[in-house]
């Protein structure tokens, strides 16, 4: 299958196979007017299979979301058909409105306008907890 290479935009590469759609939704790519390609199960030398997302515009990618969902991805910024920058993704310290706190006793359960904020409390085990009630993200 062929997808045209892009001239100016972003390529999110090395997405763990199966996670492409989740990243597509969390980044809100369905709202973009430009061409966006989500390619699933691409053959990969490194991991056997991977997903790739190509965005044909200068989109400000939320690297916190990428870091949380799949921190092995690489983000390539394409300028004039060439890779101008490679961004490395790290596990974010804080996530805002990416996860929802499910604790019925948490203040976020009754105050709908509060941002749902989770903080990384255990880097090794990738544990995030709600800043309000300390409930672990699932």
């Amino acid at each position: 299958m062929n997808i045209d290479s892009i001239k100016n935009g972003i390529v999110i590469d090395h997405i763990t196979a199966g996670k492409g759609m989740e990243i597509y939704r969390l980044l809100g790519l369905e709202t973009l007017d430009c061409s966006v390609a989500l390619i699933k199960n691409v053959v990969s030398k490194k991991s056997g299979k991977k997903d790739i997302i190509k965005i044909d515009s200068d989109f400000d990618v939320d690297t916190d979301i990428l870091g949380f969902v799949d921190h092995d991805v690489t983000v390539n910024i394409i300028k004039d058909g060439k890779i101008a920058e490679k961004k490395t993704i790290e596990l974010p310290n804080e996530l805002t409105n990416v996860l929802k706190c499910k604790n019925p006793r948490c203040i976020t359960s009754t105050e709908q306008e509060l941002p749902h904020i989770f903080r990384l409390t255990d880097k090794e085990h990738r544990v995030y907890r709600c800043i309000y009630c300390e409930t672990k993200a699932k």
Binding site: I107, E113, I131
Partner: protein, 305 residues
């Protein structure tokens, strides 16, 4: 400008806790020295769920510092009953008072208040989550009874799942050398994972058991808790677990002279009244110490010298 607040006991450094204990001890020794320290200052007690003793302790603390108090004691008498958010309430109260003490049934509500208020906010208990000023009362009691915190074996008994006082005290004690915990609870009311994570991360030795009789002899401190009806969604579970542990003179006879019994109060039936006269029972002293630590905390957060 956001002022310094106290939401979780872990926000205080060991040095700050020692300073608060030092100030509280000085207040106990010379109360008259402090009787006008907060003259002209106002404490707002925002209690979205009833808690007579904590509210009165805060109010007594501010009054003994020469300040005044205003506030409400249940959500029905506040704008929350009209649907006002915690953020808005705290912005409004910032215009009236110098410091807020907030109790709320929802976990994290005082943090929301602190992020929006322009005056210091003290968490006076948020759901089953944290209750840092009770912890300060507990710490002063332990300090005055034991002379310090290092190498103590501390047993927590009863509701360790919803018992916010337990979670806060554990968070405070894990910073001291050689502290060990014995966690005594029925299976349904065990310590939550996030608190156990803190123990594991701090490399603290702890054991879990369901027998108070078998563990009481090893303890320096026994921290009893009430199984709280308001934390259960279901009455049946509450009734089944309510009477699991009752401290009686017979059980006290199994403990050593070194034991001190603490309880955040109110008690229902988990400590027999017959234990009250035992010199090892410290829970009424603990109430008094709570007021002194709240005085010390108010002085600190208002930066009154």
């Amino acid at each position: 400008m956001q002022m310094r607040s106290l939401i979780d006991i872990s926000e205080l450094t060991t040095k700050e806790i020692e300073e608060l204990i030092g100030v509280a001890n000085d207040i106990i020794a010379s109360p008259q020295k402090y009787s006008k320290k907060c003259s002209g200052k106002k404490l707002a007690t925002l209690f979205f769920e009833p808690s007579t003793r904590t509210r009165l302790s805060f109010e007594a603390a501010m009054l003994e510092l020469g300040g005044s108090v205003l506030g409400f004691s249940e959500a029905q008498s506040s704008s929350a009953s009209k649907g006002e958010s915690v953020a808005d309430t705290s912005k409004v109260i910032s215009c009236y008072a110098d410091i807020i003490a907030m109790r709320h049934p929802k976990e994290g509500a005082p943090l929301v208040a602190a992020r929006n208020a322009s005056i210091p906010v003290i968490n006076a208990g948020d759901g089953g989550h944290c209750h840092p000023t009770q912890t300060l009362a507990d710490l002063l009691t332990i300090y005055r009874e034991k002379g310090g915190f290092d190498n103590l074996t501390v047993g927590f008994c009863g509701d360790l799942k919803f018992g916010r006082t337990v979670h806060s005290l554990i968070s405070a004690l894990i910073r001291y050398k050689g502290v060990k915990f014995v966690l005594i609870s029925p299976n349904e009311l065990k310590l939550p994972g996030y608190v156990k994570d803190k123990l594991d991360n701090a490399g603290i030795e702890y054991t879990e058991t369901d027998s108070l009789e078998n563990s009481i002899a090893d303890l320096d401190i026994l921290y009893m808790t009430r199984v709280q009806k308001e934390r259960f969604f279901n009455e049946e579970d509450y009734l089944r677990l309510r009477d699991t542990y009752i401290l009686t003179p017979e059980k006290m006879a199994l403990a050593g002279e070194k034991l001190r019994v603490l309880h955040p109060l109110p008690r229902v039936n988990e400590i027999s009244v017959a234990v009250d006269d035992d010199p090892r029972a410290c829970y009424f002293k603990q109430v008094l110490y709570g007021k002194y630590m709240r005085m010390a905390l108010i002085l600190k957060l208002l930066e009154v010298k």
